[in-house]
Symmetry: C2
Subunit: 303 residues, 2 copies
Amino acid sequence: MNEHEILKAIRAKQPVCRTPRIVLGIGDDAAIYRPRSGEDLVFTTDMMHEGRHFLPDYPPDAVGWKALARSLSDLAAMGARPQFALLSLALGPGVGAEWVEGVAQGFASLAARSHTVLAGGDLSRAGHSCLEVMACGSVPKGCALRRDGARPGDRIFVSGRLGGGQLGLERPDMPGARQRHLRPQPRLLLGELLRTRGLVSSMMDLSDGLSIDLERLLLASGVAARLSGRLPRYPGATEQQALHGGDDYELLFTVGPGRSVPHSLAGTRLTHIGDVASGSPGQITFRGDALRAQGWDHFRDAS
Amino acid sequence: MNEHEILKAIRAKQPVCRTPRIVLGIGDDAAIYRPRSGEDLVFTTDMMHEGRHFLPDYPPDAVGWKALARSLSDLAAMGARPQFALLSLALGPGVGAEWVEGVAQGFASLAARSHTVLAGGDLSRAGHSCLEVMACGSVPKGCALRRDGARPGDRIFVSGRLGGGQLGLERPDMPGARQRHLRPQPRLLLGELLRTRGLVSSMMDLSDGLSIDLERLLLASGVAARLSGRLPRYPGATEQQALHGGDDYELLFTVGPGRSVPHSLAGTRLTHIGDVASGSPGQITFRGDALRAQGWDHFRDAS
């Protein structure tokens, strides 16, 4: 396959999705997006490396799906609606047409469901395969949900159930958990509903694990937290997996006092797992004991 | 270095550059940009892999500079003004604090000169080092310069001199050419001036080589071209390097009949190198003979 053929294969899989906002898509030096008046645009980018974030034997459509899902999950965490994405694809040695088509297919499936237009990207060869997705979403001006708004007295919630992503990584034989690991579902509708209902004082997505991600939210807000013992666990997941496992892509958010939170929203269960407290920023207590953040820090073991 | 320390090192190098358009920068799930009314936004992304686009012995500040320069050159080619960038950085084994600081320094130098705000990104470890820069620029609504507007009878121009990027790759002992290879200068001011003067019918940047990039412009416009023998060559560069060498980051553009083009603009020489012709789309003749596009196609030698 040459560059032209690869591009053609990727484009052929994409849903027909015309919007006057994408003035110019794939094929020029850059893509052109025409903003609406009164909107803020939200930008995120995520890289996935073979051998690090996925393995050569993963189904290629899962690799394409997950590359987009990781970025869309960040948009969900801001309460944003996806607009478009750029995909950079580096092909490792031994990767051919079938793999590219599978990746394009997986990317396109999620793009179609989430109304995300593939507007451009970059193609190259490298020592190992690598994908990078930049996604852009929109919110009404001033309405994006951030990490830095949690205040003592707020309650802490998570969507869905935790630990399934990690369980699926460790146990390829458990189909449900494996699907969660391979094809995570970004909580886009939930993120938008939480924004429009005005319930949320801070929000982020859980990609690296509850303990490390919660620590990040607390540090950004300058507060501490007490977690109760009641974590909603994915069936079969251990408490350690629920506390520290990555790849769940659920939403973690805080709600101010006196606001009522439904038990579920957008078909997703919402669980009160603890409370924001004053104290040393970033400190977490779990059943009364200090909890050390142990999620996925890419550099924890590095020099 | 852990993730927090790496982020801190990168942020410390960035110029203080406050703009009300970047509502939220580094540190949340996503960055927030507030568009002006009446502007189109232009998006481009470029990946650089160790061993492919740079070597381990390259000065790290050149690697950071070039990663941003490649994307800014695409913005220049649209006639856009840079607004912000996202940087994804994957660190290979053996890469430490000094390399990260050097990359951040090089990126920051060009960011300061081009008024580009580093608004976010992604950090990871991988089997080899890799950088990806997504850059966003703005143009007045409907004014971006595209590849697809060349018409028979238009004249073809290039900025600057060609072949220096390739010469600098092949000859590390030639300081001037080496600088062009390591620290290319995106033609941002020239791109904006060409847009505001309304001279240009199509434009792109030269990153992979004149012959292959011109072929792409011609294919997008559905036209052919005749090149004269007069290519502006970088001192010491061969005609082959000027025709097919990559990494020049000059602008290639076409101008409609009857419009006068200055000999230089923004301190950069502009040279009439040929003319757009009707004929088989993408076909190039050079001194009367058919010219085969031979620039840098990442996949030319791949299966």
